[in-house]
Symmetry: C2
Subunit: 374 residues, 2 copies
């Protein structure tokens, strides 16, 4: 958390105190003072001001602003002029309060800086835009508490809907919100302990196919490097790995699997260990894009040729020598599907929670087709 010693404390719950006198500074008073002193904050014209200037009633201004019928052209012109002159802009906060809908949805994901989430977020945004809604983004940094904090903050803002890429595994805290009408769709990983819509990639099937691909090219000693198994996708991919191995009747050595590996250094160490261990692997299956990138680095420094299939596509994968074979998932499709489902909920279609699984696609580029070198 960055330091924030500032006077901008929108959510501050303490009562500010004057340094010299020790008196409580009453915020309202402060705000009034701002207004009177011509401070730049606040002090925006309201419909009332526009009405006064145009010499019409409040509601007439509202009608003009909202394009409602029943205003003579002449009156409308006068109102428009007043709006122009004062630089009036409707206060949507007040509008929201009155109407009950905020026309905004929230998206909670792991890390907006991850190239996997950018396209996903953009896809959600496009769908929201098509429905006249804005998008509020938040990164949970894979921290369940932060996820909950974010989600509840969004609920307090009364977002109409939530798209959540869960970090935690217990979402019962969302029950009252969902009951109260907040549309909710989970993406990439299912919700924990509640029944809700979820859109995910076929991690199990994708991983299984990827590993089977390596087996088909003659590999039997195949390593798996993945994230913490408490993350659903990581667990599913591991399950896919195991299933493919079992399908082929290959017993798996413990030293071939590295789980809960995050951060480039740990991935590097894990890869080096399974490449030089007592029973060295001839191929590696990488559980996500970050792992893939690091493994590519390690293999580039490695003398022996080692096959690689990664989960998630990465940019420029086709230009490496050899090209990196991957099990690709479509991040944008995940986001789009989830958002569309969200707005279907908001349309009031009484739909029972569903699990939507999108297929993955094996893209062969060379690294996965290398023969075992042992």
């Amino acid at each position: 958390m960055l330091d924030a010693t500032s006077s901008y404390n929108p959510m501050d719950r303490r009562i500010p105190v004057d340094d010299r006198t020790g008196q409580r500074i009453v915020p309202e008073t402060a705000r009034r003072a701002d207004r009177l002193s011509g401070n730049r904050y606040g002090n925006r014209p309201t419909m009332k001001d526009v009405a006064a200037r145009a010499g019409v009633g409040l509601k007439t201004v509202s009608r003009v602003v909202n394009g409602e019928p029943g205003v003579t052209p002449d009156t409308e012109r006068r109102v428009q002029e007043a709006i122009e002159a004062l630089g009036f802009r409707r206060n949507d906060s007040a509008r929201v309060l009155r109407k009950g809908r905020t026309a905004s949805i929230g998206l909670v994901l792991e890390d907006l800086a991850d190239p996997f989430y950018g396209p996903l977020s953009r896809a959600v945004e496009e769908v929201a835009r098509a429905h006249g809604a804005l998008l509020i983004n938040g990164s949970s940094a894979e921290d369940p508490d932060r996820e909950q904090e974010l989600v509840l903050a969004l609920c307090a803002r009364r977002v109409d809907g939530l798209v959540v890429i869960p970090a935690g595994d217990d979402h019962r805290y969302l029950e009252p919100e969902i009951r109260a009408g907040v549309a909710t769709v989970f993406v990439d990983r299912p919700a924990g302990k509640i029944d809700a819509d979820v859109v995910l990639s076929d991690s199990f099937g994708g991983a299984r196919a990827g590993v089977a691909h390596l087996i088909a090219h003659g590999h039997r000693r195949i390593g798996f490097i993945g994230d913490m198994p408490r993350i659903h996708t990581a667990a599913e991919r591991l399950r896919g790995y195991r299933a493919a191995m079992e399908d082929a009747g290959i017993p798996v050595e413990d030293s071939w699997m590295s789980l809960g590996v995050t951060g480039p250094e740990r991935v590097r160490r894990a890869a080096e260990e399974m490449l030089s261990g007592p029973v060295p692997v001839t191929a590696v299956f990488a559980g996500n894009n970050r792992v893939t990138v690091t493994v590519v680095r390690v293999l580039a420094e490695h003398s022996r040729s080692v096959a690689l299939v990664g989960f998630d596509d990465i940019e420029l994968a086709d230009l490496l020598k050899p090209g990196v074979t991957v099990v690709a998932q479509d991040a944008a499709a995940l986001g789009r599907t989830a958002a569309e489902r969200l707005f279907r909920q908001l349309d009031g279609a009484l739909i029972t929670p569903e699990r939507i699984e999108l297929p993955t696609r094996l893209i062969t580029r060379g690294s996965g087709e290398l023969p075992p070198a042992d």
Copy 2:
């Protein structure tokens, strides 16, 4: 724009009409009906409900919710129980209306799916979080109208501040907003026709250094492929290219410069033309990350060895053969700097608009050090 034939029309300005009777459907009535029928929408408990259940006054609930002093432990407990039982959550819309600050800032950028903007957005989010504010994102898709639409929508929501990566070149429409107190910082490109804070990378200096680097390695026929010169960064990089060439006393052929090139196909064509033209180039300077990626592809298919320096770092650039030499800018630093400046404005520090330029860094990896092959 996606199709949106839905009943969720938060911004709808038309008056809905009953299909059968032709009567106007009065939204308020509809909403009341929803409530009465136990519809899941709306119908959330308010402080009043909590107060009634706890047998206390409205303001007492407010005090408990906001952690204000002056409530006996026993009363507080009763209120907490009522909150728990009803699943109450404070309505921040109403709070915002009363307090005048929304504790949210807006970020308008070109495309969240672009790997350059992900880290930038994340950095802005972190700073916002440190100040207790949420972040609303919007993509302008490089369309000035859409930028304006987004910005004004955010202003109507009364965001406390705006970070804008401009698509247009005239931001006078923001003048009333800024006067009204919306803190504003532009990033990556300066604002048009208004005086405002701006944080940018040293595009001119970076490009000049990058091209000088190629010249230092013996190149004289150097191509430039960049975006539309109406985009400030593109123009600056072109200027840097020209400056470096002029510094070295090298006259520039028109056929070496491709401007306003967007989309992989056009970049590809531009690159092929300058490689096979009457005076073929021996090196290429790529004006942004998307151009770089495509040029790398073209060069990979090309027999003759051609040097390349790109503006913006790209992932895996070090793993290509040869590694891609780039002029790197720090997207996260841009975002962080801009956001910090924004909150400094909100703190009320009377600061005059400033232009902050962040340095770029030349990262040599091989492609920029190839000798001319002619």
